[in-house]
């Protein structure tokens, strides 16, 4: 059932400079945003856990680029990128990381629990595997209402051994729920390499067990991701068929800011080698070579991003702490 993809050839199709600009802008935005977040964490402005998506930007950006605003996205706790790609205001995302009242969630959620109803971003979930059934439920609701939206669910390789992965795959395949399952295989769950976690390390092949379309994709190639997810989204819109996609990517930083090196379980050489395939550098070169973008345009994008991120930090800094009464609000929805 797997269709291996020839991204190189196919991807070029239908790329114009507007699209190239958007893809590059979004990837660079996520990168700079998180670099600044890391600085803020070091300064103690952000607390708790902070998981950076740096190195994996092509997955969220490529996937989101084939979605409609009324489509849904849901992710785990490494979700800054998915949230920003879906269209959230970087200022409110940063304010949330700072735990301020103007944050997306009033400062109650923090880095691991970003939610943004205005862009149909459904969070932000920190129990590994637990958001997969939720995604199936969103697909269920779409079908229940006879809509043609899809729900994209991002999860890590670490969620695959979890029982809820199996339950969600089976239910979505059995009931034909319009969900696009994107496993971001960055080869490690904290310090556990996939070989030490799974009897089957070609994660996309699990789809075959559920008779679900499935394929792997180079998660460092934003156009390849765009193409593969595009096919899956089309299937889901058409008749609700779900798809399991394994996006092969890599986390350039540690698991979280508390695991900065991430060096116990992988070698410096491996990290260096993977950094050579930085999705942003790869796409920028490609866009220049193909003439989708000029040097000036690339510089302009980088400047715009820097301004936007600086503004986000300033906004977060300026936003006050939530009033202490908010501790007891939102526990229940009052009708």
């Amino acid at each position: 059932m797997a269709q291996r993809t020839e991204s190189r050839r196919a991807a070029a199709d239908g790329v114009d400079s507007a699209l190239a600009r958007r893809l590059l802008y979004d990837m660079v935005l996520i990168r700079r945003f998180e670099e600044k977040a890391a600085e803020a964490y070091a300064l103690g402005k952000i607390g708790g856990f902070l998981h950076l998506y740096i190195g994996e930007e092509a997955v969220a950006v490529g996937a989101t680029s084939v979605l409609r605003p009324d489509d849904y996205a849901i992710a785990a706790y490494r979700e800054h990128g998915h949230c920003l790609a879906k269209g959230s205001d970087p200022r409110r995302v940063m304010a949330e990381l700072f735990g301020r009242r103007d944050g997306l969630c009033k400062g109650k959620g923090g880095s691991m629990h970003l939610f943004d109803r205005s862009v149909n971003f459904l969070g932000g979930h920190a129990i590994v595997g637990a958001h997969l059934p939720l995604a199936a439920g969103v697909g269920f609701a779409i079908k229940y209402r006879g809509g043609d939206q899809v729900c994209v669910c991002y999860f890590g390789d670490g969620a695959v051994p979890q029982g809820e992965f199996h339950e969600a795959m089976n239910l979505s395949a059995l009931w034909k729920l319009p969900v696009v399952w994107i496993c971001e295989n960055n080869r490690y769950a904290m310090g556990t390499a996939v070989e030490r976690a799974l009897a089957q390390t070609e994660i996309w092949k699990f789809g075959q067990a559920y008779r679900m379309p499935c394929e792997p994709v180079d998660g460092m190639d934003v156009l390849a991701v765009r193409e593969v997810v595009g096919r899956a989204v089309a299937r889901a819109r058409q008749d609700g068929t779900p798809t399991l996609i394994e996006a092969r990517t890599y986390r350039f930083r540690g698991h979280s800011m508390r695991d900065p090196a991430g060096a116990i379980y992988r070698t410096k050489e491996e990290v260096e080698r993977e950094r050579q395939r930085d999705p942003i550098l790869l796409f920028r070169e490609r866009a220049l070579r193909a003439g989708w973008l000029t040097d000036d345009e690339v510089r302009a994008i980088e400047k715009d991003v820097n301004d936007a991120v600086d503004e986000a930090v300033a906004f977060a800094d300026a936003s006050p702490e939530p009033p202490v009464e908010w501790l007891m609000t939102d526990v229940y929805k009052e009708d």
Binding site: Y72, I74, G103, L104, C105, K106, G107, K108, G109, H113, F115, D116, R117, L122, G123, G124, H125, I127, A130, H131, L132, P133, L134, A135, A136, G137, V138, G139, F140, A141, I142, Y144, G163, E164, E167, A168, N170, L171, L174, T329, D330, V331, Y332, K333, D335
Partner: protein
């Protein structure tokens, strides 16, 4: 008013709410074709079709999560646990997703879901199938927890639970499904969550009990009447939010209290009730609040051991006598 069984009252509540609101659907094991392991969903598949009466494979965590996800985007799922024992498999979804998403999202997403099914001691089903499950839920901020003791409450409270915008844990009982009682047929009849009810007026002592224990408490009350002890019996109906006022008002009147609970006593519902009674009515109490609870053991299979596991009418009566004859402090 019509006389019907507890089971029929639940069925009617589901029917009425599904007719009233197309976003309400029921999902769980055997709820459709089989019409419910305990027949609570009888006839629903026929009336509402497979899209709204959804049979699931055995995957409690999965289909509960499906309900929560559907609720996030506007549906109103009623998730049936064939029995609440199996809800432990879905507890993470209920506690970490359903109960917290509204708070974590700063109020952007709410979860109007009902998780319902039978719980508590059943007949010789042994340790894994016969246990009081409310203890895993009523502590959790973000959840509401209901235990309906009569057919009328079953209907009125289930309708309120379905209309509530928050996750509601609604625990019925195998042992009550066939109990008959008066039930209003008015489709607008709803019993608000969070209101206790005085089942029997009395002067000398307040007994707090629900579900099967409520009936035994009422028996004990009748028996003690002959001994000249006037017992007031209060049924909390909703365990979270708990109607503390009604219970305290009763204790202020009687100055004595006994809390009855089917489940194991240590750190059960009775602990909380005893704790807030002594907090709010300390100076009114003429005796310590007594707890009559299930034994601190798993449920045994053997009939005689099972009988000894949960409080009997006699044990309840003895406890009432003790607190009444205790001389005031």
């Amino acid at each position: 008013m019509a006389v019907m069984t507890y089971r029929e009252a639940l069925n009617l509540a589901l029917r009425e709410e599904m007719r009233r609101d197309p976003s309400v659907f029921i999902i769980g094991e055997e709820v459709g074709l089989y019409e419910g392991a305990y027949k609570v969903t009888q006839g629903l598949l026929k009336e509402f079709g497979p899209q709204r009466v959804v049979d699931t494979p055995i995957a409690e965590s999965g289909f509960t999560g499906v309900g929560i996800g559907a609720a996030m985007v506007g549906l109103r799922p009623v998730v049936e646990m064939m029995t609440f024992n199996f809800a432990l498999l879905a507890l993470d979804q209920i506690v970490n997703s359903a109960a917290k998403i509204h708070y974590m999202s700063g109020g952007q997403y709410h979860i109007p879901i009902v998780v319902r099914g039978p719980g508590g001691p059943a007949h010789q089903l042994a340790a894994q199938h016969s246990q009081s499950m409310e203890v895993y839920f009523y502590h959790v901020p973000g959840l509401k927890v209901v235990r309906p003791s009569t057919p009328m409450d079953a209907k009125g409270l289930l309708k309120a639970a379905i209309r509530d915008d928050n996750p509601v844990i609604f625990i019925e009982s195998e042992t009550l499904y066939s109990v008959k009682g008066e039930v209003p047929e008015d489709p607008d009849f709803v019993i608000p969550l969070g209101q206790a009810v005085v089942r029997r007026e009395g002067r000398d002592v307040t007994v707090v009990a629900y579900m099967g224990m409520l009936y035994r408490a009422l028996e004990a009350a009748e028996a003690l009447d002959k001994e000249g002890i006037s017992v007031e019996v209060v049924d909390p109906r909703t365990l979270r939010p708990m109607d503390i006022d009604t219970i305290i008002r009763s204790v202020r009147k009687t100055n004595r209290a006994v809390v009855v609970e089917a489940g194991a006593g240590f750190a059960g519902m009775g602990s909380e009730i005893a704790a807030f009674i002594q907090e709010h009515a300390f100076d009114d109490l003429d005796a310590p609040v007594e707890r009559v609870t299930g034994a601190n053991a798993p449920m045994p299979y053997a009939r005689n051991l099972e009988r000894a596991k949960t409080p009997s009418t006699e044990r309840i009566a003895d406890a009432i006598r003790r607190v009444c004859y205790a001389k005031g402090a």
